[in-house]
C-alpha cells in the first residue's frame, strides 16, 4: 500500500489492516512521518517530530504482534499529541517560549495509556501559548495554517492537532478543550473533535490553563475514530482528584449504533441566529433537517443565561490561569532571564523571565485574572462568575429535561484570515461563544463537519449531552456523519484542496 493510501485511511481502518497483518506499524508510521516532512513546512502543525521514538514504538508493536501477542485494537496506529500534554523524554513547551527546551521527567496519564496501548507518538502539535486563543496565532513558535486555505487560521488553541489530522499528517491526535479548543479547530478544519465530560479523561500531566474547565479529548477525521481514541484515554485516574470514578460509557458501541429515531434533539435558541455567518446557519439547518429525516424529534430549547457565559468564562479562566501559570518563574525549569539593569534578585529575575517569556495574550489574561482575584474585586468578578456558572448549569438541566442532546453551530464563522482578529482580543474571544457553556457546566460536546459554507470552507456542527452521557454524542454524531457521507458521496474533508508537497 502506498504512503498516500495509508495516510488517507481512518484510524479504525488502519487498525484493521494492522491486525490482519496487511501492513506493519513501521510502514504506517513512516508514511505519516513522510507526510509530515512533505507538508508540515507549509502547515506547521508540529512543534516537534519524534521520528526515532515513533518508529521504535512501531517496531516494538510489529515484533509483539509477530509473536501472536494480543495487542490493543489501536496498537501501531500513530498519533499526534498537543504540546500542552507532558511527554517524558520529549520536549513539551505549551507553545510558550518560557518552556522552550523543557523535557518533562514524567508522562501524563493519558500518554501512559497511549504508550500502554502501543500508539506511536509522531510528535507534539502547535497551539496558542498555554492554550490561550482561538487561532493558534498566539503560539510562541509561529502560527499553524489551515490546510483548506493556508492564509487562514486552523482554529485554536488546538490548531496544530486539528490541522495535523486534516492534512493527513496523523490519523488521530490529542487535543485539550478549555472553552472550545478541541471543537472550534475541528469545526474550521472539517475534522471531528470531542470534549468529554469534565473528569472523563485524566488531567494529570496536562499543563493546566483553567483547572475547572480543562479537559483532554480525541481529534480525528471520523466519529468512530474519536470513539476508539476516547476509549483508550478515558476512565478513572487516582492521580486526578476530579477524575470521575465511574467507568466510561460504551462510546464505540454508540458510534456504531446508527439510529436516532425518537431521540429528542434540542436546538439552542441562544446559539443560532444573528452573529452567526449565514453560510454557517444554512449548513447547520440542513444538518438538523437530516437528523429529523433520520427520525429524531427536533425541539426548541432556550438557555437565557448563556448570554453571560462568555463574560463568566473570561473571568474564571484568567483567574485560574493567573495562579496556574505562576510556577513559570525561571527558578526550577524553563527560561531564566536576568533584568537588564539593577540588582539580580529572585524577585526581579522572576519578573524579567515572565516579562520576556510570556506572549501578549498570556500577559493579558494573567493580568486580567490577577486583577479579578485581587483584594476588593473578588466578589464582583470571580465570585459572580462562579454564580453565573450555577445559572448555566440550571439552564442545561432544564434543556436536558426537554431534549436528549442539544445542538448548535460550533463556531459563529468559518476559518478567518490570519491576522484578521489579532488586534481585537474581544472579537477573538467571540469565536468561543457556542463552545464555552459546555466547559462551564462540565458537560461533553462534539464537533463534526456538517458541510461547507458558501465560502467553500467547512462548518462545524456541535452536539452537547448531559454529564456522563458522552455516548449520546457518538450516537447522534455517527448517524449525522453517515447521512452526510451519503448526501455528499464522501466525507466533507475530501473537498479540501490538495496540499502542495514542499519538503520542510
Amino acid at each position: 500500500m502506498s504512503d498516500a493510501t495509508l495516510t488517507r485511511q481512518t484510524a479504525g481502518d488502519l487498525a484493521a489492516l494492522l491486525q490482519a497483518g496487511e501492513v506493519s506499524s513501521v510502514d504506517v508510521t513512516q508514511a505519516h512521518l513522510d507526510r509530515i516532512r512533505d507538508v508540515d513546512g507549509a502547515v506547521h502543525a508540529f512543534l516537534h517530530v519524534s521520528d526515532a521514538e515513533a518508529l521504535a514504538t512501531a517496531r516494538a508493536v510489529d515484533a509483539r504482534r509477530a509473536t501472536g501477542e494480543r495487542l490493543h485494537g489501536l496498537a501501531g496506529v500513530p498519533i499526534a499529541v498537543k504540546d500542552i500534554v507532558v511527554t517524558k523524554g520529549q520536549p513539551t513547551t505549551a507553545g510558550s517560549r518560557i518552556l522552550e527546551g523543557w523535557v518533562p521527567p514524567y508522562d501524563a496519564t493519558l500518554v501512559e495509556r497511549l504508550r500502554a496501548a502501543g500508539l506511536p507518538i509522531l510528535g507534539k502539535t502547535n497551539l496558542d501559548e498555554f492554550a490561550m486563543g482561538s487561532s493558534t496565532e498566539h503560539s510562541g513558535y509561529g502560527p499553524t495554517r489551515n490546510p483548506w486555505d493556508l492564509d487562514r487560521i486552523p482554529g485554536g488553541s488546538g490548531g496544530g492537532s486539528a490541522a495535523a489530522v486534516a492534512a493527513y499528517e496523523a490519523p488521530l491526535a490529542i487535543g485539550t478543550d478549555t472553552g472550545g479548543s478541541i471543537r472550534q479547530p475541528a469545526a474550521v478544519t472539517g475534522t471531528v473533535g470531542v470534549k468529554p465530560t469534565y473528569g472523563g479523561v485524566s488531567r494529570y500531566g496536562l499543563i493546566a490553563l483553567a483547572s475547572s474547565l480543562d479537559q483532554a479529548g480525541p481529534v480525528s477525521r471520523t466519529v468512530l475514530d474519536s470513539a476508539l481514541l476516547h476509549e483508550v484515554i478515558g476512565g478513572h485516574d487516582p492521580r486526578d482528584s476530579t477524575s470521575l470514578p465511574e467507568p466510561l460509557p460504551d462510546v464505540v458501541r454508540a458510534a456504531h449504533h446508527g439510529d436516532v429515531a425518537g431521540l429528542r434533539v434540542g436546538v439552542v435558541r441562544e446559539l443560532t441566529g444573528d452573529g452567526y455567518q449565514s453560510g454557517v446557519r444554512a449548513s447547520f439547518e440542513a444538518a438538523v433537517a437530516l437528523l429529523a429525516e433520520a427520525g429524531a424529534e427536533i425541539v426548541d430549547v432556550s438557555c437565557p443565561s448563556f448570554d453571560y457565559a462568555l463574560a463568566a468564562y473570561y473571568l474564571i479562566l484568567p483567574a485560574e490561569a493567573s495562579s496556574n501559570l505562576a510556577k513559570f518563574d525561571g527558578m526550577r525549569f524553563g527560561l531564566r532571564v536576568e533584568p537588564a539593569e539593577g540588582p539580580i534578585t529572585a524577585e526581579r529575575v522572576m519578573a524579567a523571565t515572565r516579562g520576556a517569556g510570556f506572549g501578549d495574550e498570556a500577559k493579558r489574561r494573567i493580568i486580567l485574572g490577577t486583577y479579578a482575584l485581587s483584594a476588593g474585586y473578588y466578589d464582583a468578578y470571580y465570585g459572580s462568575a462562579q454564580k453565573v456558572r450555577t445559572l448555566i448549569q440550571r439552564d442545561f438541566a432544564a434543556a436536558f429535561a426537554k431534549a436528549d442532546v442539544l445542538v448548535s453551530p460550533t463556531a459563529p464563522t468559518t476559518a478567518f484570515r490570519l491576522g484578521e482578529k489579532l488586534a481585537d482580543p474581544l472579537a477573538m474571544y467571540l469565536n468561543d461563544v457556542a463552545t464555552i457553556p459546555a466547559n462551564l457546566a462540565g458537560i461533553p460536546g462534539m464537533s463534526l463537519p456538517s458541510g461547507l459554507s458558501d465560502d467553500g470552507l467547512p462548518v462545524g456542527f456541535q452536539i452537547l449531552a448531559p454529564a456522563r452521557a458522552d455516548d449520546r454524542l457518538y450516537r447522534v454524531g455517527g448517524v449525522l456523519e453517515a447521512a452526510l457521507i451519503e448526501r455528499w458521496g464522501g466525507p466533507v474533508l475530501s473537498a479540501a484542496p490538495e496540499l502542495e508537497v514542499t519538503t520542510r
Binding site: V86, P104, Y106, L206, S241, T242, D329, A346, S374, A375
Partner: protein, 502 residues
C-alpha cells in the same frame, strides 16, 4: 534599626500602663509517611531533593491528591482541642511568589477550616489553669528550604544566591490559630510559652507528630498588641514570625510588650507589621515592607474537591483518642498522692512517663519520684541531657527500689548501685553482685566488728554502759565504716547495746 533592650521601658512599667493581648499561630508538621498531596517520603535529613515528585516540585501538569491520614490527624487535633469538625470544607490557593514555594501558591485551607471553635486549658508554672480559645485549626502544606550562600552574615540580606531543597515542600501542616488571648495581664509571656508547650505535649500524646522543636516540627507566630485598659478596644498588633523554642516564645512576647509600650508611652503608634525574631539579641525587627504582601488572591483550589468527613468517621476518630494530657496528669497525681508542686516538678522535668513506668515496675510512687527528681535529675543536669538520655530505664529503677525494700541493700548502697547502673555496668542486680554491695546481715560478722570497735573506744563503751545510749552512734559509725557501709545500721545499733548490756 534593631532596638536594644536597655532603651526600652521596663517590663513592670509596661504592664502597669498597658494591658497586653496576645495571639498565637502554631504550625505543626504532621508525622505522616508521605506528603500532603503526593506520595513523596517525609523523613528528616534526607539528601536534598531526594523526596520529590512532579507534584511537590510543582512541575507543569502535576495534580494534588489529599493524604487521608493527614486529614485524620487534623481531625484528631481538632477533637483534642474540643473543636467543631466541619461538615464540609475545602482547600484554597494562597498566591504569592517565593522560590521555596514551588507552585508560587500554597495550597491551604482559608475560609473553610476543618476544625473551629475550640479551646485548650493551659497549666501555668504555679498550677493555675488558663483557658486559651481556639479559633480554628486548618490544613496546609510546608514550603521547601532555602540555604543562603555568600554575603557577610549568611542571613538573607547580603546573600549572593540561595540553594533550594524541596524535600520539605508539601509536608502536611496543621495551623492552629487562637482567638485574641485576653486577661493574662503580666503573665502574657508565660501563657504564650505554656500554650505552645501544652500543644507540643498534645501533638505527641495524639501521635500526630514527633513535635521536635529543634527540627522545626513546631513553629509559632506570635501576635502582640497593647491597649490602655482591659475595657479598651484591641490595639494594633504585630506578628513576630517563626519563633521556634518555648523560651523564645516567652522572650518574644515580653520584648514586644516592652517595645510597643515604649512607643505608645511616648505618644507614638504601632505599625501593623510582620516582625522577625532574633534569638541572639532577644529582639524583633520589622520585616521588609511589601505593598502586595497581604494580597494573596485566595480562591478555592480547583484541582481538589471538598472534604466532607462523615460523622461516623469523626466519631470513630474521637473514640480512638488517647487520654488528653491534662486529664491524664490529674489522674496520675491522684493515683500517686503527689502534691500539686510535686506533680508540677515531675511534669516540668519530663519525668511523669518515667515515674509511671517505674511504678509499673514495682516501686512505690514516692520512691520513684525521689529517684527521678533527685539523684537522676542531678546527674542529667550535670551531663546536660534530659532524663530519657541518661540510659537508665524505669525498669532498672524499679528493680533498684525492690532491692531496697527487701532489705538487701540500704539507701547508701543503693546510691552506689545506681552509680554502677549509670556507668553502664548493667542492671542493679548485676551491679550488686559485681561490686559486692549486699548488706552484711550475718550477726557473727557484725559482732566481730562491734567488739573491735568497742575495744578500740573503751571510753565510749563506758559511756553507753552508764546509760548515755546516744553515745552508741559513734560505735555504729565505726562499724559502718569498717563494713564499708554494707551493714544494716539499725541492726548494728541493737548489737552494740546488747553487747554493752545497756
Amino acid at each position: 534599626m534593631t532596638a536594644t533592650t536597655h532603651d526600652l521601658l521596663g517590663y513592670e512599667d509596661a504592664i502597669a500602663r498597658f494591658d497586653p493581648v496576645i495571639g498565637l499561630e502554631v504550625h505543626v508538621e504532621l508525622g505522616t509517611r508521605s506528603k500532603m498531596f503526593c506520595p513523596s517520603g517525609t523523613e528528616f535529613g534526607a539528601e536534598p531533593n531526594s523526596l520529590v515528585s512532579p507534584v511537590s516540585l510543582g512541575l507543569p501538569g502535576a495534580l494534588p491528591v489529599v493524604n487521608r491520614t493527614a486529614v485524620e490527624y487534623a481531625i484528631r487535633i481538632g477533637l483534642a482541642l474540643d473543636c467543631q469538625i466541619a461538615q464540609t470544607c475545602r482547600f484554597a490557593r494562597k498566591n504569592y511568589f517565593y522560590p521555596d514555594v514551588p507552585k508560587n501558591f500554597q495550597t491551604s485551607q482559608y475560609d473553610e477550616p476543618i476544625a473551629y471553635d475550640g479551646h485548650l486549658d493551659v497549666e501555668l508554672d504555679d498550677g493555675d489553669v488558663f483557658r486559651v480559645e481556639i479559633e480554628r485549626a486548618h490544613m496546609e502544606e510546608d514550603a521547601g528550604k532555602n540555604t543562603h550562600v555568600g554575603g557577610r552574615t549568611g542571613r538573607i540580606h547580603g546573600a549572593e544566591y540561595s540553594l533550594v531543597d524541596y524535600n520539605r515542600a508539601g509536608i502536611p501542616l496543621v495551623e492552629i490559630v487562637t482567638r485574641p488571648v485576653v486577661g493574662t495581664g503580666e503573665r502574657a509571656p508565660e501563657v504564650a510559652r505554656a500554650y505552645v508547650q501544652s500543644l507540643r505535649e498534645l501533638f505527641r500524646t495524639l501521635g500526630v507528630s514527633e513535635a521536635r522543636m529543634e527540627r522545626g516540627n513546631v513553629r509559632a507566630d506570635v501576635n502582640v498588641s497593647l491597649r490602655p485598659s482591659p475595657e479598651a478596644p484591641l490595639g494594633t498588633r504585630t506578628e513576630t514570625k517563626n519563633v521556634n523554642s518555648f523560651r523564645s516564645v516567652e522572650r518574644a512576647v515580653r520584648y514586644e510588650i516592652r517595645r510597643q509600650a515604649t512607643i505608645l508611652a511616648s505618644g507614638g503608634s504601632i505599625l501593623q507589621e510582620t516582625r522577625h525574631w532574633h534569638e541572639d539579641s532577644g529582639t524583633t525587627s520589622p520585616g521588609r515592607v511589601k505593598s502586595d504582601a497581604e494580597d494573596y488572591r485566595y480562591f478555592p483550589e480547583p484541582d481538589l474537591v471538598p472534604i466532607s468527613p462523615s460523622r461516623e468517621w469523626v466519631e470513630e476518630i474521637r473514640a480512638g483518642l488517647p487520654e488528653r494530657p491534662g486529664a491524664r496528669r490529674r489522674r496520675l497525681q491522684e493515683d500517686w498522692g503527689f502534691t500539686d508542686a510535686e506533680m508540677r516538678d515531675a511534669v516540668n522535668a519530663g519525668a511523669a512517663e518515667l515515674i509511671e513506668a517505674t511504678v509499673a515496675a514495682g516501686a512505690p510512687p514516692a520512691a520513684a519520684r525521689k529517684w527521678w527528681l533527685g539523684e537522676l535529675l542531678r546527674t542529667a543536669n550535670a551531663r546536660g541531657v534530659d532524663l530519657g538520655g541518661l540510659g537508665v530505664t524505669p525498669a532498672q529503677i524499679g528493680q533498684l527500689q525492690v532491692l531496697v525494700d527487701s532489705g538487701r541493700i540500704n539507701d547508701k548502697l543503693a546510691r552506689q548501685v545506681l552509680e554502677g547502673v549509670l556507668a553502664g555496668e548493667g542492671d542493679p542486680e548485676a551491679v550488686v553482685l559485681s561490686r559486692g554491695l549486699e548488706v552484711v546481715s550475718d550477726d557473727a560478722a557484725l559482732l566481730e566488728a562491734v567488739d573491735a570497735a568497742l575495744a578500740s573506744q573503751p571510753d565510749v563503751a563506758e559511756k553507753i554502759r552508764s546509760g548515755r545510749i546516744q553515745a552508741a552512734g559513734a560505735i555504729v559509725g565505726a562499724v559502718m565504716k569498717a563494713t564499708r557501709g554494707q551493714a544494716d545500721a539499725a541492726r548494728v545499733r541493737e548489737l552494740v547495746l546488747e553487747r554493752v548490756g545497756a
